[in-house]
Amino acid sequence: MDKVVGKCDDVQLERLLHSDDEESDEVRAAAKHLESCEACRSRLASFAADASWWNDARESLSSSDAFAWKPDLTRSAAFAGREGSRGDSIQSDVRRILGAPNHPENLGRLGRYDIERIIGSGGMGIVLKAHDSELNRPIAIKVLAAHLAHVGAARDRFSREARAAAAVVHEHVVAIYNVETDGHTPFLVMQYVPGRSLQARVDEDGPLTVEEVLRIGMQAAAGLAAAHAQGLVHRDVKPSNILLEETVERAVLTDFGLARAINDASLTQTGVLAGTPFYMSPEQATGEAIDHRSDLFSLGSVLYFMATGHPPFRAEGALAVLHRICREPHRPVWQLNQSVPDEVSEVIDTLLEKKPGRRYASAEEVRERLASLLSRAQQFGFGRRRFARIRGKRLRRRVLWSAVAGLLVAAAVVGVVATWPASRPQATEQPPAHPAADGAEIARSEREFAGEWKESAHAIGQMERPTSFLSSGDSWNRDLESLKQSLANLEALVNPAAKPEGERK
C-alpha cells in the first residue's frame, strides 16, 4: 500500500458520501483510492461528521444496554406462539404462580391442571399449555398478568368478560371451559387450539390466496356473529387473535371482550405507549361509543391483511396510525394484489367505511356475502381466473369502446361516414350468454359500461355546436346524425335496457 492508487478529489468524496450507489465504476475507483490514501480516508470521515460526532455515536450506541427498554406490548395478548424478549422474567412469574409439578417434565400445577409449557405472553398475561387431569384433555390456560392481578377493577372486568365470553359456544370461537377468579391468580381455562395464529401464518407464508381469504374471513365472521348474537363485542379483532387449527385450518376467534378489561384497568396496552393499534376502528380510536360494527371494521382490516400481507393503515407511530384510521382512505386491495377480484375488494371497502352506518349491518350479512363469493369462486374454478377474466374483459371492452368512439368521431370529422360499419363486428365480442351466477357481475359491468357509453355519446353530442374548421355545416350535421344513429344501434346491441342519448329527442 505504499503507492497511492488514483488521485485525491474532495468533490468526488462528497459525492460518494451522498449517493447510495455501491457498484458503479466511480465508487469502485474511489474505494480503491481510499485503500491506499490515508489522507482521503480521514477527509471522508470528516465530511461525514466531525470527530465529536464519531465519538458521540460510539459512546451512545455502545453504552451498556442493561436498562434498555424492551417493549413487549406490541406482542399479541393471545397465542403469540413465541416467548417474549423477557423470557426469563416470564419464567420466574410462572414459577411464582405454580405449585410443584407432578411430573418432572411439567412446569408445575395450577388447581387441577398440569402445566406443560408456556405458549406465549402479552400485555394481558401469560398463556400456558396444560393438561386437565380430570377430563383428560389438553387445555390452554390464560393467567392474568401479575401487575393486573392485584388491581381490583381488572380482576372484576376479567371475570365478567370471561364469563360472558364463556356463554358463546360456536365452532369458530375458542371455547372457555372455566373461569377461576377466587384464588390469588385469576385465570381462564380454554380449549387448546394446536396450530398457529393468522398473524404467524401470513408473516411466515405471505399473503393468502383469495379462496383462503374468503374462507377464513367467512369463518371469522361466523364466530363474530355468534358472539354478537349474545350481545358481546370482541373489541380486539386482529390476526393474532384468530387461530388456525392445524390440519383442518379451521379459524377460531379468541380473546373476546378481554381488550376492554385490559384497557380500562391497566395503563399498559393503551396505545399511548406502544402496541400499534393497526386493527382499531375509527370509533374506537376517537373514543365514541362502539357496537358490533366496530368489530366489522376490524374484520375488514384483517381481510385486508390476509390479501396484502399488511394492515390497511400503516405509519411509523401509533398515533399516526390512529390518525390515518380516522381520517384517511385506505388503498384498495386490488391495487396491491392483482389476483383479488373487484367484489372481494369491495367487500373490504364496505367493511372499512369510516362511518359504522355505511358498513354491513351485521357479521351475519358479511358471512353470507363472503360465503356466496366463495361458493361462486369454487364453482367456477377458484375465483381468481374467472374473476380476473371478467375484469380483464371489462377493461378490454373499455379500451375497445373508447377506440370505437374515437374512430367514429374521427370518421365524422373527416366526413368519411362509410368507415363506421367496419367497427361493427367488434360488437360480437360481447359475451353472448352468461352463467346465472355471473349475472350480477355482468350486470354491474354493463352498468359501468353504460356510464362510459353515455359519456362518449355526450361528448359527441357536444359537437353539434358548429365548429369553425368545417366547411359545410349541413354535411357535418348529416354525418353527426348518422353517427349518433350508429351509436344508438351499437348501444342497443350491448345494453338494451338503457336509452341512448340519441333516442331521447
Binding site: 460518494l16 458520501l17 451522498h18 447510495d20 455501491e22 465508487v27 474511489a30 474505494a31 480503491k32 483510492h33 481510499l34 485503500e35 480516508r41 471522508l44 470521515a45 465530511f47 461525514a48 461528521a49 460526532w53 464519531w54 458521540d56 455515536a57 460510539r58 459512546e59 451512545s60 450506541l61 455502545s62 453504552s63 442493561a66 436498562f67 434498555a68 427498554w69 417493549p71 423477557r86 422474567s89 401479575a146 401487575h147 384497557n263 380500562d264 395503563l267 399498559t268 393503551t270 396505545g271 399511548v272 405507549l273 406502544a274 380510536a285 376517537t286 373514543g287 405509519a315 411509523e316 407511530g317 401509533a318 398515533l319 399516526a320 390512529l322 390518525h323 380516522c326 381520517r327
Partner: protein
C-alpha cells in the same frame, strides 16, 4: 380522572396536524426508553420503571389538552418536548420517583416550572437524551441502508474493530468499508441534527 384510553383518544381529537402527530410519535419513541432507562438507573425494578414511563406519558398527554395552537407560542413539537423535559427533571429532583398519578396540580406545577438549569439532574437528563436520540436515529438509518453497509459502520465505529477485520468478515474491500461507515455516519448525523434543530432541546 380520565382513563388512559380516553387520554389517547383526546390526542387524536386534539392533534389534527400531521406534523403534530409525528412529533407526538417521535416523542413517545424517544422518551419512553429514556424515562425507563433513567428510572432503572435510579434503582427501580422493571415493572415500576415501565409504570413510571407510562405515568409520565399519560401526564404529558393530558397536558396536551391545554395546548392551543398560537403562533406566538411556537410549534407543538417545541412545546411538547419542553413540558416533558420540565416534568421529568422537576420530578426527578423533587419526588424521587413516587407515583405522580395522584395530584394533578403537582403535575401541572412540574410541567410549568422551569427546571433548575444547573442541576445534576439536568446534566444527566441531557446526556441520556442525546444517547437516546442517537439510538432512535440509528434505528431509522439502519432501515434505510443495506445490511452489510450498516454492519461495516457498526463493527468499525461502535465496536471499534479494525477495518481490515471488518472487511474480511463482511467480504467487502477495505475501501468499501470506509465508504460504507462514512455514509452511515453522514445519515446518522443528519437524523440527529434534524431532531435537535427541531427545537427539542427546549
Amino acid at each position: 380522572m380520565a382513563s388512559p384510553t380516553e387520554t389517547r383518544l383526546s390526542l387524536i381529537g386534539r392533534l389534527s396536524d400531521r406534523d403534530d402527530v409525528e412529533a407526538w410519535d417521535e416523542f413517545v419513541a424517544i422518551y419512553v426508553p429514556l424515562l425507563y432507562r433513567l428510572a432503572r438507573q435510579k434503582g427501580l425494578q422493571h415493572s415500576d420503571a415501565e409504570e413510571l414511563a407510562q405515568e409520565v406519558l399519560v401526564a404529558v398527554s393530558r397536558a396536551v389538552d391545554r395546548w392551543e395552537p398560537d403562533p406566538a407560542r411556537g410549534r407543538f413539537r417545541d412545546w411538547l418536548f419542553r413540558i416533558a423535559r420540565n416534568l421529568i427533571i422537576n420530578f426527578m429532583t423533587r419526588r424521587k420517583y413516587q407515583s405522580i398519578s395522584g395530584g394533578q396540580t403537582d403535575v401541572l406545577r412540574m410541567i410549568e416550572d422551569r427546571c433548575d438549569e444547573s442541576s445534576d439532574e439536568l446534566a444527566a437528563f441531557n446526556l441520556e437524551q442525546r444517547r437516546e436520540v442517537f439510538r432512535w436515529a440509528s434505528a431509522k438509518v439502519k432501515d434505510t441502508v443495506a445490511a452489510a453497509t450498516w454492519q461495516a459502520f457498526w463493527q468499525s465505529s461502535v465496536e471499534t474493530k479494525p477495518i481490515a477485520e471488518v472487511a474480511r468478515e463482511l467480504g467487502m474491500s477495505i475501501g468499501s468499508v470506509y465508504v460504507a461507515r462514512s455514509r452511515v455516519m453522514s445519515k446518522l448525523r443528519g437524523e440527529v441534527s434534524r431532531f435537535e434543530a427541531d427545537g427539542s432541546r427546549g
